[in-house]
């Protein structure tokens, strides 16, 4: 199931948890659990208020969105759940 999720994510673009759940024929909660799992395994990186913020080396900050200079203008600031694929995940495609 998690492989299919990864495949869907690798297709790119902004995805919604509800849509992913529908495509995988499962619950949004399980999709979230799998996203957490992929994050633990290093395939996804959180881009929100978690420890490493948006993941870019220069904007890295411990306060997440609160400490980010761009938060005021950011479309996803304060949103609890935003992830992006890491190179580990995109690398597996090739």
């Amino acid at each position: 199931m998690i492989e299919r999720l990864l495949d869907l994510l690798r297709a790119g673009g902004v995805r919604r948890i509800a849509d992913l759940a529908r495509e995988l024929e499962t619950t949004p909660a399980l999709v979230e659990a799998m996203l957490d799992g992929l994050e633990r395994m290093g395939y996804l990186r959180r881009m929100d208020g978690s420890e490493h913020g948006c993941g870019g080396a220069e904007t890295k900050n411990r306060e997440g969105c609160a400490g980010c200079a761009l938060a005021g203008a950011c479309a996803v600031a304060g949103s609890e759940r935003v992830w992006s694929l890491t190179e580990k995940a995109t690398g597996h495609m090739r």
């Binding site: 199931m1 902004v14 909660a29 799992g37 633990r40 950011c74 996803v76 992006s84």
Partner: protein
Amino acid sequence: MNEQGRGSQSADRNPLVALAGQPNVGKSTVFNLLTGLNQHVGNWPGKTVERKEGTFTCDGTTYRLVDLPGTYSLTANSPEELVAREFIIRERPDVVVALVDAAILERSLYLVAELVALPAPVIVGLNMMDVAQQEGMQIDPQKLEATLGVRVVPMSASHNVGVRELVEAIGQAARGDYIYTPKRPEIRADHAEVLAEITRLVTEWVPQPYPPDWVALKLLEGDEEITRLMQAHLPAERWEAVHDILKAHEDALVAVASGRYEWIGQAIRAAVTRPRTGQIGLTERLDRWATHPLGGLVILAAILGLTFWLTYTVGTPALNLLDTYVIHPLADLARTVLEPFSPWLAGLVADGVIGGAGFILTFLPILVIFFAVMGVLEDVGYMARAAYVMDRFMHPMGLHGKSFLPLFLGFGCNVPAVLGTRVIESRRARLLTALLVPLVPCTARMTVVAFLAPAFFGPAATLVSWGVVLLALSVLAVSGVLISKIVFRGERAAFIMELPLYHLPNPRTIGLLVWQRTLEFVRKAGTVILPVSVVVWALSALPGGGVESSYLATVGRWLEPAGRLLGLDWRLVVALLTSFVAKENSIATLGVLLGTGEGGLAQRLAATYPAATGLAFLAVQVLFIPCVATVAAMRQEVGWRGMLFNLGLQTAVSLAVGMTVYWLARLGGLG
């Protein structure tokens, strides 16, 4: 511990119970309920991880209870997870109680999926049933039990519900009355063969007390600790063979985890029903339209149009009233009062300060409405949908997923958008996204459009503004496609976001937002726009023979031949150039050069220039080189060469598009 007066031998014969679970599932509550005061806190040997142990007695049997550290899984990633799995493997507890949070069952069950692969029998304590019920979840413990093949005890530990049943289940297991037949997660078929091969290769060399099946599975998962262990125990030749297989299946971790999630998914399907509640239901119904691939775009375009329409219908009359009844009388007053003292000072105040920067302030009605509409859309939760729909639209063109965030930021202001490109790791991708950002029409550019469109086109302003924005986005999309094809070569990054629930707008939040942004604009008018207006006025007044023979006119006329190609006279060329300092200066400059006559700037513009010139000027304005603040941010982020490249690109693109628009408009009879 409650072991005084008893020999350690007899203590060892007491059944051993391990309490496992993820953090925050109520493990401490259960542990305290069972052991009461009979507990002891220490550290796991050689680790800084807390070890809690205690005893409890039931039906004459005393049980030893060990609270394992809270972990999400049993990998070797953290000392807590190592402690938990080593304990189960080495101490072989009579029973492992896996506590899960019923309200977040999907997340909680992952640890159980790992626990059932170990040799100790597992009982699932389905905790927080009360919370799950409050959230409308219906969980059938019997069905869960049947799918997992593991005893499930529903409980609400914080209300002391189900604890007795849990103790009974523990007693049964300790007496050997628990027939433990777990249905273990299965690994995908192709990897199952690999797993079987590894198991065959390592089994006879696996040291006690590790279960060979589990060791093979962990090797396949790439577990560092077990890999080290087996490298030490396997003969070199055998290790080579195992190592080669593992190397060929580096992605097996995902396959193994996938099996576990499949296992969880089956359990959820069988045992859990979630009714859709009001707000979620409403959001889903609205999103069926708002995020529809085609319908969503239509709605986005309609909302954009409605925003312009509202701004023009309410804002433009207010702007004209302010111009006629405040700015003009004020300028006339300044002229009348100051003329006797110094005609020069009268000109500076009336034309330079009031006609330029003061005129900019008449925009406030337009901006307040624009900011308020944006604020409502943001607060209701629509902006996230707009971002989503736009990405869906750009995605098929191959725009890199991570570029999307900074590009979207650019609608507010290009400066944070350029800085925001830092979220992109790859240097090349970052550079090219930063180069694209200034093509996004920012609020300041939109302000200029919002003023000029009604001035030139009256009732057709909404349509024209709408077209200008679409034009800017098309240029962005085309550049995006080219860049993505050349640079990213099809590489794509995903971006997962959960759209927030829709909710009613909060007037306070919106009011605050409008206030802050308006204040920012007023500050800009006073600090950036004012000095430029004064300089423009001075250059238009010196050396003293009227505007037409001023220094500014000389410079403007020198550039006019280029402007003529797109129908611009020297005033419009100068207005465009001053927009480099701040976009709104375009209008302030036109205010200084044209606005002091009868009827206000809007009417003078319409009287002076044909519609084709107006269209071309709007098109050039939204695509021309960005303001100095953005250019400075670009220099900082992408260096001099990148910055200069962008300036060249935008000059070329804006002039080419402006020229096309002008001649097409003339062909269409708007000359």
